[in-house]
């Protein structure tokens, strides 16, 4: 049986077990004896993420023969990521303005939710305020002042990426003979890490089962929240599914032509499942890289660079979610947003999803920044906190699908370029 089928079965069984457990009073048993296996799975994936990013980036970049190719791929990556995030945000605004999920929200529910989540909001607000807003902060934060310290902290991925790029560029600039041993060692390490990922993935069906059973049990009591937020919840869900099933396939169709959509979706499915059950795109990165290289034949030099960078700066779904949430809150409070304000939302959501990797509290803190930028009451956050976790799971799946899409597009354009160059070189002698 292929791995993805096993993972899906694990997921389905996890859902079923979770429901049975809530009915039959096995909730505590599930939390004590099943959920830990999910936590272990999550830890294993995170454990391998830092070495994977470092080793694969160094290997990917140092195999480039000239720096111009690196800067070309780099520029492409950043541009495409920003463009796709902008599109996702705009799409979110369009959707929420059309559906207007906030207009029918009952007044008493609003008061009830605000009581319930006051504490969380205060905390997040503190976090949002404490982060320094100087304009170049993003770049300053990207540079580590001690690489060992940065590697010891899973939230400093961008610093590791920065150092890995610096290290690899130095390797490219040196003579082949000077770095031969280092290269050999990184090749070996890369193979070892990829093998470790394979080993971890053997455990994936059980991990996914445990994670999902845990989530269902955790959320069993909150079913009524889903009902109350029904329209909002559905809007976000449908929007995210449209991103996965329609928007990204369209990108692929327009920019690559070659890759069959069904093949793409099938290849990224295991990565999506892992992202869904762990709700962490960093944890899904190892799987995502493996699937892209092995199933979709993305070249290692592209995948090794584009995907780790994507985890930290490309968050289409997060940006999408921020715009929907912001407008939803405005609708509930009966505030009309002008075009200028909506544009501010697009801009802020895009910038914050790119510029704030590793902000503690993740997208909630980002939503606060977006809300304050257009003067919406931060307390409105209370309305959506209840369904944040399940939506976060979906968001992570969408985020890594977006990363894979861009990786495939860049891979295709690099291949085409190489093909053209090769054709040119072939044609040359005839002149």
């Amino acid at each position: 049986m292929p791995l993805w089928a096993k993972i899906i079965i694990g997921m389905a069984l996890g859902l079923i077990w979770g429901m049975i457990a809530t009915r039959t009073g096995l909730s505590k048993f599930t939390l004590d004896w099943i959920k830990p296996w999910g936590t272990i799975f999550l830890k294993l994936l995170k454990l391998i993420a830092v070495p994977l990013i470092f080793v694969s980036l160094v290997k990917g970049i140092s195999s480039l023969t000239d720096i111009s190719k690196l800067s070309r791929i780099g520029v492409k990556t950043v541009t495409y990521y920003i463009a796709s995030t902008l599109i996702a945000t705009t799409f979110g605004l369009f959707l929420v303005n059309t559906v207007k999920p906030g207009n029918t929200f009952p007044e008493e529910k609003r008061a009830e939710f605000m009581d319930k989540w006051q504490g969380t909001i205060d905390e997040s607000q503190l976090l949002a305020e404490s982060s320094d807003h100087s304009p170049l902060r993003f770049i300053v934060d990207m540079v580590p002042d001690n690489i060992i310290n940065a590697m010891g902290d899973n939230s400093q991925m961008l610093q590791i990426i920065f150092f890995a790029i610096l290290f690899a560029v130095a390797m490219v600039l040196l003579k082949e003979s000077q770095v031969k041993t280092v290269k050999n060692i990184f090749d070996g390490l890369n193979d070892i890490i990829i093998k470790i990922i394979e080993l971890i993935m053997l455990f994936a069906p059980y991990g996914v089962f445990a994670l999902l059973a845990g989530v269902i049990v955790d959320f069993a009591g909150d079913a009524d929240i889903f009902l109350a937020l029904g329209k909002y919840f559905t809007t976000v869900m449908v929007g995210l599914f449209i991103l996965i099933l329609i928007v990204y396939p369209i990108y692929l169709k327009i920019f690559t032509r070659k890759i069959p959509i069904s093949k793409f979706l099938k290849a990224v499915l295991p990565a999506q499942m892992v992202a869904f059950s762990t709700s962490s795109s960093a944890a899904a990165l190892p799987v995502n890289m493996r699937q892209n290289i092995e199933e979709l034949n993305v070249s290692e030099e592209v995948a090794d660079f584009v995907l780790p960078v994507g985890v930290t700066i490309n968050m289409d779904a997060t940006a999408f979610y921020q715009s929907v949430a912001a407008v939803f809150i405005a609708q509930v409070y009966g505030i009309d947003l002008t075009i200028a304000q909506q544009l501010t939302i697009v801009l802020m959501a895009t910038m914050s999803s790119i510029g704030s990797p590793g902000v503690p509290g993740g997208s909630i803190v980002l939503v606060i920044m977006v809300l304050t930028s257009v003067g919406l009451p931060v307390e409105g956050l209370a309305l959506i906190l209840g369904v944040d976790r399940p939506l976060d799971m979906l968001r992570s799946s969408v985020n890594i699908t977006g990363d894979s899409t861009i990786a495939n597009i860049i891979n295709y354009s690099e291949q085409k370029r190489n093909g053209k160059l090769a054709a040119k070189q072939k044609a040359q002698p005839n002149f």
Partner: protein, 435 residues
């Protein structure tokens, strides 16, 4: 036809950056662009310091291992080690004595007005309490705490902390000695790996140094913008500040050249020309650890000091040799005593020499650096620590010059050790492409 752009040497570009930084800082202060400078210019300076720091620990580790493993016998290693320590202590003692002579001759504290003293004490009360607290903890440590602190109990944790450089040095030494003792074939791959890593890290330093002119520009303009309000402090402390600055300059341009002339065959002109980028970076970052990558690069590639000596002597010097700081402590302690009308007898002055030397060797990476050490020195001879308030205001600019003196001292000692070991002028086959 493409015209070839004229290439300026790196040190010239750095000096350029420095001058432009100062000019920009002054303009910013005059035209109200201080906030703009803080938001958009200063971050590039911060990035420059971070870049230098990120490469410091790997550089120390890799270059020490490479340097020491190229010394094939342990006796030579221990000889170099003993020489390094001996010379570092000697140069520190000389710097302190020089400071004491200077401050006793000029007596900058006698002309200090009572009113200013009280105003300063009020202003810096809190800072001093903090420093006193830390110093108090330090004083209670047992005499061998220095050695205890030098030994890491987890090398990854030590490597992850930029203030634990001495622990990293210790572990690198242990690691290298193990390599020397083993047979060559057992460690062949490890050696090759470290050779490769060493080349890579030096190349990274090259890349970072291309950014140096901009970094130096940003650091200096931010500094000027921040300190523009404190000009009157300088005037009030005029005699003291002037004395310290002149003393440090004499060390940099008088004392070390004498060492170089007496003990090495290196021309003083070459010494200064090649050290200039190091001094400029030290001045603008006021951190000798951040400057270390540059110091190592200039000493091995330009002064032609062999790797085996430079890679050992310089990283050790960053943590234990602080001539400029020791000089500063002696001057400041006596200055404060003079302001308070305390007469220091000969024993007390000798105590200052001893404590300042020990403090500069034994307290590497103490947060707050020289100020904390000064508290220790002050209390060793019974001068009130509140006197610190007098000199806090001009601490930062003096720190910049102290750092220059410190790194110049390290390089001078490295040159001397290398000369006595006949390790100068060895060809360094790394490509250097910056001038």
């Amino acid at each position: 036809m493409k015209q070839k752009k004229r290439k300026y040497p790196l040190w010239l570009k750095i000096i350029f950056g420095m001058i432009l930084g100062i000019i920009w800082g002054l303009i910013a202060v005059k035209t109200g662009l201080v906030n703009f400078t803080e938001d958009w210019v200063k971050p590039w300076g911060t990035i420059f310091i971070k870049l230098l720091k990120v490469v410091a620990v790997p550089l120390i580790f890799v270059s020490l291992i490479k340097g020491i493993t190229s010394i094939t016998d342990i006796t030579k290693l221990s000889r170099i080690g003993a020489k390094t320590l001996g010379l570092y202590i000697a140069s520190t003692v000389i710097a302190i004595i020089f400071g004491l002579v200077l401050v006793n001759l000029v007596k900058p504290g006698h002309a200090f007005s009572q009113a200013t003293r009280q105003a300063f004490q009020l202003q810096y009360e809190n800072n001093i309490k903090d420093s006193e607290g830390i110093a108090g903890q330090l004083k209670e440590r047992p005499p061998l705490a220095f050695f205890e602190d030098m030994v890491p109990d987890n090398i990854i944790a030590a490597s992850g902390d930029n203030s634990k450089m001495l622990q990293v040095i210790f572990f690198s030494l242990l690691f290298s000695i193990a390599i020397i003792i083993l047979e060559a074939k057992q460690v062949k791959v490890v050696k090759q790996l470290f050779d490769g890593l060493n080349d890579i890290i030096l190349k990274i330093v090259d890349i970072i140094m291309r950014f140096a002119p901009i970094g130096v520009f940003a650091l200096l303009s931010a500094l000027i913008a921040e300190f523009s309000g404190d000009v009157q402090l300088f005037v009030a402390l005029g005699k003291y500040a002037a004395l310290t600055i002149v003393g440090l300059l004499i060390m940099i341009f008088g004392l070390y050249p004498t060492y170089i002339r007496l003990f090495t065959k290196i021309k003083t002109r070459d010494f200064y020309k090649n050290l200039l980028p190091v001094q400029v970076v030290a001045f603008s970052t006021s951190s000798s650890a951040a400057t270390l990558p540059v110091t190592l690069k200039q000493c091995t590639q330009k002064l032609k000091i062999s790797r085996s000596v430079a890679n050992f002597v310089l990283p050790v010097g960053v943590t234990i040799n602080m001539d400029g700081s020791s000089f500063y402590q002696a001057v400041s302690a006596v200055f404060i005593a003079q302001v308070f009308g305390l007469d220091l007898n000969l024993t007390q002055q000798l105590t200052i020499i001893l404590t300042a030397t020990l403090a500069s060797i034994g307290a590497p990476g103490v947060p707050g650096g020289a100020v904390i050490m000064l508290v220790i020195v002050l209390s060793s001879v019974g001068i009130p620590a509140e006197g610190l308030a007098l000199i806090m205001g001009v601490e930062r600019p003096l720190d910049m010059i102290r750092t220059v003196a410190n790194v110049t001292g390290d390089s001078a000692i490295a040159s001397i050790v290398a000369s006595t070991e006949n390790e100068v002028g060895v060809e360094d086959f790394d490509d250097d492409n910056d001038n």
